[in-house]
């Protein structure tokens, strides 16, 4: 095994560059006149994506030893990884994200995850969304708690939106969030008299007792109706691929461009549970990653300079085993990788302490160990991007103090 520091030194590449150069979106935003509010876009890769084949530690011989048939080859080889820093490389299917890494608008965090030992999708997603690993009785989601802490008298009813049929765990709670799959279909299906009738029934009750309380639903529907975001065409030549994630991101972009006060958007995408026939540079995972990457690349292109106010972050419940299994796939593991992309990101860097892939370095002798708690990443994003005043109730029982942040956002 090659020691990472030595490897980096000998390859002559420095890591510090990333944090000194402003990323391209910051430059673009400065040059433009937009003054939209900030938005955090969270994408959940449900099913546990194989982070070791997303950001490939090609500098580790142990990676190749553990994965005889599904490893992504080293940069330069056929189907090889796209070099990031002399040690890590991007899966070739993520080529459409490479420019963002090079222009410092995208960063990755490796060996990140939820510290609970569970390898159940169901539990691990639940823990990640509730923000309380190991505690199952938490009723609401951490993004909902974060939104609830931002007391804004003029908060938009569309401040928190999930592009999903049911409100996901991460946004459920007392703060109120809107779940929808189609912007054009959210609202009362019944004409002006009917929706107006409902509105006055509910608003008069409000005016009588608690005047001034928001009538979120009707307001959200009205805003959507008048802003008519779904009419907006992708800009800057962006072409969204087919598929649910692209469909969600296209609509999130429409909401952002419509200035309807979107603060948090959530989308999920499944298909990552690659127990068999995962493939390496090509195959099942490669296909999924290409659609994933192209959807995100279309989103950033579509938004253009508006990305200066947007941060996109991805998460997945856990990583997958370092060693490939008997079916040329991988089983449920532990640590994973996150992508953080957008304005203010000090990108061009793979963050996180690398724990190594030698047997004795693995978690329970099988998985990539966690060196960064996912809550540390979100703590920084929520504070810097969303101006959440305190994290105490967002991550109860967890110390998410700034000293633990990785400095991913300016």
């Amino acid at each position: 095994m090659i020691d990472r520091r030595i490897f980096l030194k000998s390859s002559g590449l420095a890591l510090v560059g990333g944090s000194l150069l402003p990323n391209v979106f910051v430059k673009m935003a400065k040059a433009s006149t937009t003054k939209g509010s900030k938005t955090l876009v969270a994408i959940f890769q449900r099913g546990a994506v194989d982070g070791l084949n997303v950001i490939v530690p090609y500098g580790e011989q142990a990676y190749y030893a553990a994965r005889p048939t599904i490893a992504v080859p080293r940069p330069g080889a056929e189907g090889g990884a796209i070099d990031l820093d002399g040690f890590f490389g991007l899966h070739p299917s993520l080529a459409s994200l490479t420019p963002h890494f090079k222009d410092h608008s995208a960063a990755f965090v490796h060996a990140v995850g939820s510290p609970d030992a569970t390898r159940s999708h169901f539990d691990a997603q639940d823990f990640m969304e509730s923000g309380t690993p190991g505690v199952k009785s938490t009723e609401d989601g951490f993004l909902s708690r974060a939104v609830g802490l931002k007391k804004e008298p003029k908060a938009s009813p569309l401040r928190a939106v999930a592009l999903s049929p049911a409100l996901p765990r991460i946004l459920s709670g007392a703060a109120g969030a809107v779940a929808m799959t189609n912007l054009g279909q959210f609202g009362i299906r019944g004409g002006a008299n009917v929706s107006g009738g409902f509105e006055s029934m509910y608003s008069e009750a409000v005016a009588g007792a608690l005047g001034g309380t928001a009538k979120e639903s009707f307001d959200a529907a009205r805003i959507l109706k008048s802003a008519d975001p779904q009419k907006l065409q992708p800009e800057n030549g962006a072409i969204y691929p087919a598929g649910p994630l692209a469909n969600s991101l296209r609509q999130i972009a429409q909401l952002i461009k419509s200035n309807v006060g979107l603060e948090v958007a959530f989308a999920d995408v499944s298909g990552w549970d690659t127990h068999a026939g995962e493939g390496g540079a090509q195959g099942q995972l490669a296909n999924n990653l290409r659609t994933f990457s192209d959807a995100i690349a279309a989103f950033t292109r579509d938004l253009g300079s508006r990305m200066g106010d947007v941060v996109l972050v991805t998460m997945s419940e856990f990583g997958r085993t370092v060693r490939e299994n008997g079916n040329r796939g991988t089983d449920h593991g532990h640590a994973n990788v996150m992508l953080i992309l957008g304005g203010g990101v000090k990108g061009g860097k793979v963050y996180g302490k690398w724990p190594g892939l030698a047997s004795q370095q693995l978690y329970e002798n099988r998985d990539l160990a966690i060196t960064t708690d996912f809550r540390d990443i979100f703590a920084e994003l929520l504070t810097k991007q969303m101006a959440v005043p305190s994290l105490k109730s967002v991550f109860p029982g967890y110390d998410a103090s700034p000293s633990k942040w990785r400095g991913i956002l300016a």
Binding site: T69, I70, S120, F122, D123, Q125, D126, K136, S137, E139, D140, P165, A166, L167, R169, S172, A174, A175, G176, A177, V178, A179, M180, F186, G187, I188, R189, G190, N193, V194, G196, G197, S200, M201, Y202, E204, A205, V206, G208, A209, L210, T213, A214, K215, E216, S217, A220, A221, G271, H275, A276, G277, E278, G279, G280, Q282, G283, Q284, N327, R328
Partner: protein
């Protein structure tokens, strides 16, 4: 509290203020009938309020407390037509799960080279399965019986309690094979035990494949060094029968894995003692050890994968344990777990926890502590007799108080079913209702966390969900919800229907028992009725479904 809840509570506050000028602390007989039909049933059908008020509210309650004496033939005849309702776990697994397993195995084998997407192959293989044997049949049948019973059964309180206990002992259909095990779980575990002793209900869930799989106890086994030593003779004899529960020691010691605390924690936190019930992490670990070997059958045991409970002595932790101060010497077996379940079932903390949840469900989101204590005392005094405990809640002054009356927001299940009942809807296909429940936030058998769904309003109502409630109301009233036939015009006497104002009143009476506020009444009149200029366009009944949709969507109808 979220804004929508505030609206409702606010509206209620207003109603109470108006009521204060004419002091009337006691509910009228019609209000009492309305109250029980909302809380102990899934809402009144047209005429129900009068019928219950006439025949006597107390008599109705007494009848509902003994569902076994209510014939309920009509709905049972419909449910008998659902093919999977009478099948055992083993039969369901064999008929509906094995084809899935075969497809999965084949797809994995074909996808091994990595060039083809195994999902595509699996999809193709699944399409080759005859429609009647596809796995969805099981869940469709289960949803059908649950929705049909809630909407049409005469054993209404029974269905309310099924909803309560299925939620208390929640099992998520989306986890692995549980979607095939829930049919038996509801039919054989929850329904037969929920009017008996809590201990029996708890024990039945603890030995149910659905729960053992859902909360991972099925895979919780003793650490290798704690596994029992069996004599060669015993293992030799057992081997001839080829049973895993008497697996040879060598094999048992090679079994990978170890302790899983999931179920041990949840049975104390959620099913019995409650999160503040006084147990420690050490108790959780020790109880998990007590429950090792409580698992489900595998294919090689016969009967199908996961079809039955089985205790495997070879995987049981043979060491000594202490749980909640109860000491178990080394060498115990299944009786350790049975004893602990018995102790948990009768624990004072359990009595309080169950009483609290029942009161929260039936009386108020924040039930009065004095009421909870009285109900808990009844639970303990009767040895956990659930019929007596429920009766204690229903017969309490708190249940009948003005504070309780119409103070709770309906859950999505209560809301949709009560709307269907209010319009006397005829259900021909439950799928649209099941889908609406998903959109409104309570997919049946779809609660992922073991906590189940909340019984408090503010968790239920979010903007998207409210929108979906209103759209459901409009579609249902307009007879545009596929699978549910409704005829709004037939709900009111034809003499009333010819007059705009009187037909609104008649409809309000039919759908809500007359419980509309002035705001809602005047809104409906100004928005719908008076929009039609009488001279040019006389009242012709075509607006009645819209009026009904507004009534079913009104804040009043969201409450119970």
């Amino acid at each position: 509290m979220n804004p929508f809840t505030k609206i409702l509570v606010g509206a209620l506050g207003l109603a109470l203020l108006t009521g204060a000028s004419t002091p009337n602390p006691k509910l009228t007989e019609r209000q009492r009938a309305m109250h029980v039909l909302n809380r102990l049933a899934f809402g009144p059908r047209p005429g129900d309020v009068d019928a219950v008020a006439k025949s006597g509210v107390d008599a109705w309650i007494e009848q509902q407390l003994h569902p076994e004496a209510i014939p309920d033939r009509a709905v049972e005849a419909r449910i008998a037509l659902l093919p999977t309702m009478t099948l055992s776990n083993a039969q369901i697994v064999k008929t509906y799960y094995e084809p899935v397993l075969m497809a999965r195995k084949k797809a994995n084998a074909e996808a091994k080279d990595g060039d083809v997407d195994k999902k595509d192959i699996r999809r193709e293989l699944m399409q080759d399965i005859p429609p009647g044997q596809r796995p969805q049949v099981v869940m469709n049948d289960l949803l059908s019986q649950r929705i049909l019973r809630a909407a049409e059964s005469d054993r209404q309180l029974n269905e309310v309690m099924v909803d309560f206990w299925m939620n208390h002992f929640n099992v998520f259909s989306g986890k692995g094979i549980d979607r095939f095990l829930l049919t038996s779980y509801e039919r054989d575990v929850i329904r037969p035990h929920m009017w008996g002793r809590f201990e029996d209900l708890l024990m039945a869930t603890a030995k149910s494949p659905a729960m053992l799989f859902y909360l991972d106890n099925a895979r919780s086994i003793a650490a290798p060094e704690n596994r029992p030593l069996f004599s060669q003779r015993a293992t030799f004899g057992a081997r001839r029968f080829g049973r895993m529960d008497a697996m040879p020691r060598l094999q048992a010691n090679q079994q990978k894995g170890g302790l899983n605390e999931n179920y041990a924690r949840e049975i104390m936190e959620l099913h019995t003692l409650g999160v503040d019930g006084g147990y420690t992490q050490k108790d959780v670990t020790e109880l998990a050890r007590v429950l090792t070997g409580w698992t489900i059958t595998r294919e090689r045991d016969g009967g199908g994968e996961g079809a039955a409970f089985i205790f495997r002595p070879f995987l049981h932790d043979a060491g000594s344990k202490v749980v909640l101060g109860v000491r178990f010497p080394a060498g115990g077996g299944i009786q350790e777990g049975e004893k602990m379940i018995q102790i948990l079932a009768h624990h004072p903390a359990t009595a309080h926890h169950i009483a609290y949840k029942l009161c929260q469900r039936l009386v108020a989101d924040e039930p009065p502590p004095a009421l909870v204590n009285r109900v808990a005392a009844k639970f303990l005094a009767t040895g956990g007799d659930l019929r007596q405990t429920v009766k204690a809640v229903i017969s309490s002054p708190e249940f009948w108080s003005q504070e309780s009356y119409r103070s709770k927001v309906k859950s999505p299940f209560e809301y949709t079913i009560s709307a269907v009942r209010a319009v006397n809807g005829k259900i021909t296909d439950v799928t649209p209702i099941a889908r609406a429940l998903q959109q409104i936030g309570e997919p049946l058998y779809g609660a992922q966390p073991p906590t189940g769904y909340s019984d408090k309003a503010d968790v239920w109502i979010n903007t998207g969900a409210l929108m979906n409630r209103l759209n459901f109301a409009l579609a249902l009233a307009a007879n545009k919800l596929p699978g549910v036939q409704s005829d709004i015009v037939s709900l009111i006497p034809s003499a009333e229907a010819s007059d705009a104002s009187r037909s609104v009143e008649a409809l309000a009476l039919a759908l809500t028992g007359g419980n509309l506020t002035e705001e809602t009444r005047s809104t409906i009149k100004s928005r719908i009725v008076e929009r039609k200029a009488p001279a040019q366009n006389p009242w012709d009944n075509t607006q009645l479904p819209t009026v009904a949709g507004l009534i079913l969507g009104s804040p009043e109808f969201q409450r119970q």
